[in-house]
Amino acid sequence: MTEFVAVLVDGIVYASWLFIIAVGLTLIYGVMKILNIAHGSLYALGAFAAVSCANAWFAQGYAAMGSFAMLAVAAIAVALVFAPIIERGLLRHMYGKDEVVLVLVTYALFLILEDFIKLVWGVDPLFVQGPNYETPYSLLGNFDVAGLTYPNYNLLLVGVAIVAGLALAWALNRTRSGKLLLAVIHDREVSAALGINVGRMYFVTFTIGAFLAALGGALTAPTVSVVTGMGAEVIVMAFAVVVIGGLGSLPGAALGALIVGMVRAAAVHYAPEVELFSVYFVMAAVLIARPKGLFSGAEVRKI
């Protein structure tokens, strides 16, 4: 029983974390048809920026609780700096190319950003930690379920994931800009012809996606040692999530995150030797059963 509860809690926490990262990826794909490998780099940038911001905060001796704000500041900073450079500077010139070519463009970006991180932050592991070993991870205290103790920080992850998902769903379906965006997703040419500023839509979408990736990284930073290469590990997991759910689908990302989260948590508890394998096995199985993921649109006839 305890084990089962542990799987459930771990699965939900892990799913929330995955969702925060994957939802930005699926949003960008849905709107721009770019499967952005550099999303992993933005995640890593968020984590490294969080280390710098939070540690600077601690070093000033300010109230430790403020370090949470610093995590958010780091994510916003990464989005505001890198989204314009990447989208306006590079991707904008690539629209209309083959989807696979666009993947490769973002792969090149990924390589560049990996080394950028090494140049700025070095190659040694970093930690979000104040001079007195304070860290946002332990600041919030703990909670107990069925005799197991968890840090409240995990609840924060779940909360952020739910808020992010609901906010995006609301923005897409209830606001004017969101509805225009849905029109762009449906048919880019027609939307442009109707006077929708598609370029601006793309830019805003990319910035939001980048922010979510960076936020995922920033929220992860206090829980792990922040190392180079963390982006490579995450992006392939995020791919699994969005592919399972159906590329470009918001509910798909949520379902995909839950599936991957639960599968991985179950594997860790019951069969640790298949932990990684299980996630990709599920990804392959879903693709085999439903080639375009669980939430996918209908085919268009050619002739």
Binding site: L90, L104, Y107, D115, K118, E275, F281
Partner: protein
């Protein structure tokens, strides 16, 4: 029929490389060995790309080829170089034939993603296989070549020579295949699958065959790399490795079998020098190179050589 200049050029290249072997410095032999191993893998990527497919999981076969080469020694105490390469071929042929039944239905991003999933499944298995060294992998050594002892001082040169010959054969066979009626179907499928079916050829069967060929080439490359480097680990099927193969294929272009071979050499040269002089920015150099090639040379580096002909 005009004489096929590519065949002639290939024979000349192989002959020159073999003759030059004994006089080449150590570092150059190493560079060539790695380049040729990669080159053979990328020959397979080229065939897939000609068919209109990009695999983000070809590391699967590269890794399988290498582990097959290493494991026939572990299991049966076989350390003959040809047997090791043969092991790589058999294993990759069998696995790709099975997976091909599924993958031949997939296109574009979905083909890339399902390939990725399969390669990551192998990664997930290998990192947890204690008997295969988990993330550390294990050492591999070829001791004989068709029964002759090759250990000792001459090993490096022997591996080099065998690699040259294998590369020559692989490139020659692929070239002949591409020029054949079956091979020409690759481009037709990339351009218009519907028409291919309406001309009476099976798109799925052709994609399947090409997939198996590309997988076997990756397996040969992996086996050679295992013998050459003497060590294998699960990173060979981690996604950035697969990405690297795609990278070289894009860099090279797909117009001739020389493109992937030359592209692999350029890539490996740039990487070894960049890595030596600036270990923390070599990926950045590669990324920028890739962007420049994609933006200014959509046909790859090879198009530098063929531009005049196209214009004429």
């Amino acid at each position: 029929m005009t004489r096929d200049r590519t065949v002639l050029a290939l024979l000349v290249v192989v002959a020159v490389l073999l003759a030059a072997g004994p006089f080449l410095p150590r570092w150059m032999i190493s560079l060539f060995n790695v380049s040729m191993g990669y080159g053979i893998v990328v020959l397979g990527m080229m065939l897939l790309m000609r068919t209109g497919l990009v695999s983000f999981g070809h590391g699967l076969y590269y890794c399988l080829g290498a582990y097959a080469a290493g494991m026939i020694d572990q299991i049966w105490n076989v350390s003959d170089m040809l047997a090791m390469i043969g092991g790589g071929i058999v294993v990759t042929a069998v696995v790709s034939t099975i997976l091909g039944f599924l993958l031949s239905k997939y296109r574009e991003i979905f083909f890339a993603m399902l390939s990725l999933a399969f390669s990551m499944i192998l990664y997930g298995l290998l990192v947890k296989s204690a008997s295969l060294g988990s993330t550390d992998g294990f050492n591999v050594a070829a001791k004989t070549l068709a029964g002759m002892d090759i250990t000792g001082k001459g090993l490096r040169l022997t591996v080099y020579s065998v690699t040259v010959v294998v590369m020559g054969i692989a490139a020659l066979l692929l070239h002949r295949y591409l020029a054949s009626h079956r091979g020409r179907l690759a481009g037709a499928i990339r351009d218009n699958e519907l028409r291919v079916e309406y001309m009476g050829a099976s798109v799925r069967a052709t994609v399947h065959v090409n997939y198996v060929i590309s997988a076997v080439l990756a397996g040969i490359g992996g086996a050679l790399m295992a013998i050459n480097i003497g060590h294998i680990d699960p990173e060979m099927t981690y996604w950035p490795q697969s990405g690297e193969f795609v990278f070289i294929a894009i860099l090279s272009g797909t117009a001739s079998v020389f493109a992937p071979l030359g592209g692999a050499l350029v890539f490996e040269t740039v990487r070894s020098f960049a890595y030596e002089y600036s270990p923390n920015t070599w990926q950045m150099v590669l990324g920028i190179t890739m962007l420049v090639v994609m933006i200014f040379l959509p046909g790859g580096l090879w198009s530098l050589f063929t531009r005049k002909k196209v214009a004429a």
